[in-house]
Symmetry: C2
Subunit: 429 residues, 2 copies
C-alpha cells in the first residue's frame, strides 16, 4: 500500500498558511488517522520574500506554479489562491494531469464548480471544497454523507462573517452602517474594498454552493437574487427590535415542488428568539431542514486562518483515504437533477415596510386601502411622530407574494401624502 | 461494478421503521446518489403480527434472525434491536460472516464498541454507528472526517432528549421533577421505566462514544462519572434563574495534557445566554472545541423515528459507496492512543451550593470561613429567609477543585448551625 500522500499547494495567504500550520502542528495524529505520511512537496507563491503567517522551509517555496502543477510526484493539489482567474486554469491543469484537487475557493466553485466537478468525475478524481462555505464548520460533507438520505427542503443561514459583524455591532451599539464599516476596515474585519461582503456577493456564492448540493441541481449563481446590507439603517434595526426582531443577512434556499427552487440573499427580520438571531459577530450558522431529520443547525467560525485550514485539512485527509483505498471519485458531482429557479415574484413571506408620510387624518387608512387592493393584509402597524410634523409608519404584513407587495409599493409611492418609502425588508418566522 | 446493495435488517421498532420508511420514500434519489440499487432482503422481528409504524410486505418479515444473518446475498446488516444482548452476538455473527454492520445502538457501542470495531477492522469491514448519538444530527462522521485535522480539546453537549424535555418544562412552568416526569410518561416522552434517561446512563453512553472518537482513546463507560437529574428541584431551578443560569444535563469531556482525559455527565448551571441554555425540549446540541476550528456546534432532534432513520440511512449510503468502490474499512477504529481517565477530584469548576441554616448572627461568616479553609473562594452569596425562622444560603464559588469542595462540604455538614446541604451543582461558563 502507498505510504505517503504528496501535496502541492498553490497560495500561502491566510488559508494556505492555516492549512500548512495545521499539517505541521497535528502531523502525528493526522498521519495515524489516515494511515500514511503527508508530505508537502512545494508551495507556489507570487512573492518569495513576503512575510508569512507560518514558518516554512524556504526551499519549499517556488514562484513557478508549474513546479507544483507539473510535479509527477504530487497526488493532490490544494488551490488556495482564490478568485476565478487564474485559479480555474490551474485547477483544470491539475485535473488534466491526473491530480486530485482540494480548494476553499467559493467564487470558483459557485461560478465554475459544475464544469470542474464534471472534469474530475470523468477522470475519477476527487475534487473537494468543504472550506468554501462556513470556514471550518462541517457542512458540505455532512450534506453529502450523513444527511444524504434526506430530501433537503430548506437551507437558511448566516454565511458571511463580515456583514454579521457589522449588523451585530449596529444592533448592540445603535451605530450607523458607515461608521461600523470604517471601524471594521480599520480592525481588519472588512476588506479595503468591502463590496463583495456588504453587497452580498460572498453570501450569494455560498448559498449557490449549498443549494446545488441540497437540491441535487446545478444552481447558476447569477440566478440567485442578491441584496446586500448597505441600505440597512440604525433606524431600521431599532424599529425591528421594538417589534421583537433582529436583522440578519441570510442566504435562503427553498425547494418548490418537484422541479423548482428559490435561492436568495437579503437582509431579513428574524424573531429575536430564533437561534440564528443570536448568532453574533463573525460566527456563521446554517439551518438545514430535511424531510427525515427535521431541523439541524451547524454553527461556528465562518472564516479565518485556522478554521478554514481545518476544513482544507479535513478534505486532504478524506482524499488521502480515497487514494490509499483506491476509491477516488467516491463522491462526485451530485447534481443529477435540473430544477428551474422560481422568480422572486413568487416568494411568499411577511414584509416590514417603513415610510414617512404627511401627518394628516385618514393617511394611514388610505395606505392600508392600497395595500388591501393588492392583496397585502396587515399584521401590525405602528405610527410615530417624525420631524417637521410628518409621521413615520412601520407596517408588518401577513404572508404575501413579493409581486403583490412590489405593485402595492408602486401605487403607494404615487400617493401625494407619502413622502418616502424608507425601506422594505423580508420577515422570516 | 456491483449494481445492488443488499441489506438485512434486525428489528422493526421505532428506528427500524424510520430506516425502512426513509429508504422507501427517497429510494430514487438515494440510489442515484450512491450509483446502485438498495434492496432490503429480509427484516427479522420478534412478533410477525405486531402492528408496525411502516408498511412493509409481509413476505419481507421473518422471526428467525438467522435468515438475516446467514443469508449469503446480504452485503450489510442493520442492527436496530438495541441493548447489548443479544445484539452483540448478532453483530459478531454478522461480522464473522463477512457482513458490514450499521447500528444505532448506543449501549452496544459504548460498552462493546472497541471489541466490535477491532473485529470489523481485522476483516476490513465497515462498522458504523452515526445514529447512536444525537439522533439525526451529523456528529460522528464530521468528527472523523471534516474535523479530523483537529485535536479536539472539549466536548460539551445536551445528548439526552427526555431529561432536556423534563428540565425545560420544570424551568418554563416552575413544576417539580416528579410531576413533569409522570406527565412525560403519559405523553410518551419518557419510558415506563425512565431510569436510563433520568439517572444519566443514556447520556453516559453517548458522551463515552463521542469522547472516544474525539480523544482517539478508548473510554471505558464505567469510568465516566454520572449524576442524573432526580435531585434537581423546582427551587434549584428558580435560584439558578435568579442568578442568571439555566440548569441542563450535560455530557462534558475534556482532554487533560498529553495522556489524560476527564469525561462526566451531570446537571450543570449554564449562563442563560449560552447557546446550549436555549436548546429546549427534546432537542440535542453538541459543542465541540478543536484546536484549529475553535467552537463548532451541532443542533437538532436527538431521537425519534425519522431523525434516527436519517442517520442510519446516511451510514448505509456511506457503507454502500465503500462496497461499490472496494474501500470498506476506509475509516475504522481511531482509538490509537491510551489516555487515562482523570479522577473527579481534579475537576476544576465553579459550584452552586444551596443550604438551610439556623438564622443566627455570624453563621454566614462561619461557613464562609470553612470554605476558605479548604481553598474555596466565593464569587457570590445570597441569604434568604426560610421556614421556621431558618435561612437559606445560596453560594456560587470561584473555580476550585472538586476535591476541595467536597472536603469543605464535609466540614460544613458538621457545623451544628447547618441543618442541611440541599444541593450542590457544577457551574460552566
Amino acid at each position: 500500500m502507498k505510504d505517503t500522500i504528496r501535496i502541492g499547494i498553490l497560495g500561502l495567504g491566510v488559508v494556505g498558511s492555516g492549512t500548512v500550520a495545521l499539517l505541521q502542528k497535528n502531523r502525528v495524529s493526522i498521519e495515524k488517522k489516515i494511515g500514511a505520511k503527508i508530505e508537502i512537496t512545494k508551495i507556489a507563491v507570487r512573492d518569495l520574500n513576503k512575510k508569512r503567517l507560518v514558518t516554512v522551509d524556504r526551499g519549499l517555496l517556488t514562484n513557478h506554479c508549474e513546479e507544483v502543477l507539473d510535479n509527477p510526484e504530487n497526488d493532490l493539489i490544494c488551490e488556495l489562491i482564490g478568485g476565478v482567474s487564474p485559479a480555474k486554469d490551474y485547477v483544470l491543469h491539475a485535473l488534466r494531469n491526473g491530480k486530485h484537487v482540494v480548494t476553499a475557493n467559493k467564487e470558483l466553485i459557485a461560478k465554475e464548480g459544475h464544469d470542474l466537478l464534471h472534469e474530475a468525475m470523468r477522470r475519477r478524481l476527487d475534487f473537494q471544497f468543504e472550506g468554501s462555505v462556513g470556514g471550518g464548520i462541517p457542512i458540505i460533507q455532512p450534506m453529502k454523507n450523513a444527511l444524504g438520505g434526506n430530501e433537503i427542503q430548506e437551507i437558511m443561514g448566516i454565511v458571511n462573517g463580515t456583514t454579521n459583524y457589522i449588523l451585530t455591532r449596529m444592533t448592540h451599539e445603535g451605530a450607523e452602517f458607515n461608521d461600523v464599516l470604517e471601524d471594521a476596515k480599520a480592525k481588519g474585519y472588512a476588506e479595503t474594498d468591502p463590496s463583495s461582503d456588504i453587497e452580498g456577493y460572498d453570501a450569494q456564492y455560498k448559498i449557490a454552493i449549498l443549494s446545488s448540493i441540497a437540491f441535487t441541481s446545478q444552481v447558476n449563481v447569477n440566478d440567485v437574487y442578491v441584496e446586500g446590507i448597505t441600505h440597512i439603517t440604525r433606524r431600521d434595526i431599532q424599529c425591528a427590535q421594538e417589534l421583537g426582531y433582529t436583522i440578519k443577512l441570510l442566504g435562503i434556499a427553498n425547494r418548490i415542488g418537484e422541479d423548482q427552487m428559490q435561492v436568495r440573499v437579503h437582509p431579513t427580520l428574524l424573531p429575536s428568539e430564533h437561534p440564528l438571531a443570536s448568532t453574533n459577530d463573525v460566527y456563521n450558522a446554517i439551518f438545514v431542514r430535511g424531510d427525515a431529520v427535521g431541523d439541524v443547525m451547524f454553527y461556528g467560525r465562518g472564516a479565518g486562518m485556522m478554521p478554514t485550514g481545518s476544513a482544507v485539512v479535513g478534505d486532504i485527509m478524506d482524499v488521502g483515504r480515497n487514494i490509499l483505498f483506491g476509491s477516488t471519485g467516491r463522491i462526485s458531482c451530485t447534481c443529477f437533477q435540473q430544477r428551474r429557479m422560481a422568480s422572486m415574484d413568487l416568494v411568499e413571506t411577511k414584509y416590514y415596510i417603513r415610510m414617512i408620510v404627511i401627518d394628516r387624518p385618514k393617511v394611514l387608512a388610505a395606505i392600508a386601502g392600497v395595500l388591501g387592493d393588492h392583496q397585502v393584509s396587515i399584521e401590525s402597524v405602528v405610527q410615530k411622530a417624525h420631524l417637521n410634523d410628518n409621521a413615520e409608519i412601520i407596517w408588518v404584513t401577513h404572508k404575501t407574494k413579493e409581486k403583490n407587495l412590489r405593485s402595492a409599493l408602486e401605487s403607494i409611492r404615487e400617493l401625494s401624502v407619502v413622502l418616502s418609502i424608507e425601506n422594505f425588508l423580508r420577515v422570516e418566522e
